[in-house]
């Protein structure tokens, strides 16, 4: 039986297109197809640099069943490896921990450096003989997964077939070039996660459009009206929304977070919220930034990992602790308000007569941009 979905209706203009067919939200077969075509073939977010802050920190990540190991090496660089020993396929690191010297496989003690080099193969040539002509250490290092860290989000291209991150996202990097300075995590109170009963794509779709704001987030209406927003659409890369009336949060004494640095007038009252395809949601403001990595746990189960960052003083000044907490609570409130929507759309996708949906040509461009990208990625993988 041909189980391939028909994507032709998605890959046309927003005015004519339909949304992705139901199967892209409710079919285990399509979920598996998208695992490869959408998530493994592209630069997907799998974590944050702040979770491996020191040299030797190692953190295992289960990315849709793919065991990854995130390591900060002695040069301070983040590397990502398949978390599997080259000998007998044993999982190397099962819990986050500090690697003091080498990564030792707990099975036969093959050891790897923090850069993945195979450093020791005990008894491989017989007891007390640690070499063998057929064991070529240079060819048996840990398998490195291409990775790139941008604004602390760790992106990986599991299948190693994407163009370099800087090339794929050149336009986005240029768009936010004013924010290339340090972004410092706000600490424990600036970190939270939400477990949502939805397909991960629906979280992207909801995030990147402003159409729903007055209905789902009425609290934002007081200063941020729908007409104060604009669509952001970069075919093949990202989409989202921007606001023209960002208002800095103020504490009881009028204090605000310090800016990341000098910025152009656009960012005085501007902010942007962008979905970096496939599964990373970013928000940038003059004084803080947040990143959401969507972890697809299952077809209809997603964990949203949310982290908030500031300029150095904004992150560390104890006098701003209450303001940091208030900012996190404010954002958490907004994201919680979205849960019934993304879970409701997931339930609605079981309506067998639903045809993918009709987009508003005016308001749904960013969402359609994402659908078009997903459909194109799936289509390309089928060819």
């Amino acid at each position: 039986m041909n189980t391939q979905t028909n994507l032709g209706a998605v890959m046309t203009s927003v005015a004519q297109a339909k949304g992705l067919p139901n199967a892209h939200y409710v079919s285990p077969e399509v979920f598996e197809e998208e695992r490869q075509a959408v998530l493994f073939n592209h630069w997907a977010g799998v974590g944050f640099g702040k979770d491996v802050p020191e040299i030797g920190d190692a953190r295992p990540v289960d990315f849709l069943g793919m065991p990854l190991l995130v390591v900060r090496d002695r040069d301070g660089e983040v590397g990502v490896f398949q978390n599997t020993c080259r000998h007998r396929g044993m999982i190397l690191v099962e819990e986050p921990r500090k690697i003091e010297g080498a990564i030792r496989c707990p099975y036969h003690s093959w050891c790897y450096s923090l850069k993945g080099e195979l450093k020791s193969t005990p008894h491989v040539g017989g007891p007390g003989h640690n070499t063998h002509a057929e064991i070529k250490r240079d060819a048996l290092g840990l398998i490195r997964v291409p990775s790139y860290v941008w604004h602390d989000v760790i992106y990986v291209n599991v299948n190693g077939n994407a163009a370099p991150f800087e090339e794929v996202h050149a336009e986005l990097l240029a768009r936010w070039a004013e924010f290339e300075g340090p972004m410092v995590h706000g600490g424990a109170a600036s970190s939270f996660k939400l477990e949502v009963a939805t397909n991960w794509k629906l979280a992207v779709e909801n995030y990147c459009e402003s159409y729903h704001l007055p209905w789902v987030h009425p609290g934002l209406n007081s200063y941020s009206r729908l007409e104060d927003h604009y669509n952001i659409e970069a075919p093949g890369a990202y989409s989202g929304q921007g606001t023209l009336v960002y208002r800095q949060l103020r504490g009881e004494n009028g204090e605000t977070f310090p800016d990341f640095g000098p910025h152009s007038e656009q960012w005085d009252e501007g902010a942007e919220y962008i979905a970096v395809y496939p599964n990373v949601l970013l928000g940038i403001h003059r004084d803080h930034y947040f990143a959401i990595v969507l972890e697809p746990k299952a077809l209809d189960q997603t964990v949203e990992h949310i982290e908030i960052y500031y300029a150095q003083d904004g992150a560390s000044d104890p006098d701003l602790a209450a303001l940091r907490e208030a900012n996190a609570l404010q954002w958490k409130g907004v994201f919680v308000e979205d849960i019934f929507v993304v879970e409701g759309m997931q339930k609605g996708r079981h309506g067998v007569l639903f045809d993918g949906g009709k987009f508003s040509p005016e308001m749904d461009g960013p969402t359609h941009n994402f659908h078009h990208w997903v459909a194109s990625a799936v289509d390309a993988a089928r060819r």
């Binding site: 080498a102 030792r104 450093k119 007390g128 640690n130």
Partner: protein, 72 residues
């Protein structure tokens, strides 16, 4: 405590410094080069894993016996 008992206790505790020290001692007390290299290998692995400076000398002892590459 015998060396065997001390080794078992160090394994149980995951005490890599003790494992490095005790396996080195076992190597030093071994009756032949093969037995010594067996224990040296273990001492080296635990030193390597824990980032202990002894790893350099242990590796050199193994390399001198042709049990590790001369350099890597």
């Amino acid at each position: 405590m015998s060396l065997d008992a001390a080794l078992l206790a160090a394994h149980e505790a995951g005490d890599k410094a003790a494992l490095t020290r005790l396996y080195t001692q076992a190597a030093d007390e071994a009756g032949d080069v093969d037995a010594a290299c067996f224990y040296l290998t273990h001492a080296y692995v635990f030193a390597l894993e824990s980032g202990a400076p002894e790893a350099v000398a242990l590796r050199q002892r193994l390399a001198d016996e042709g049990r590790e590459p001369v350099c890597d």
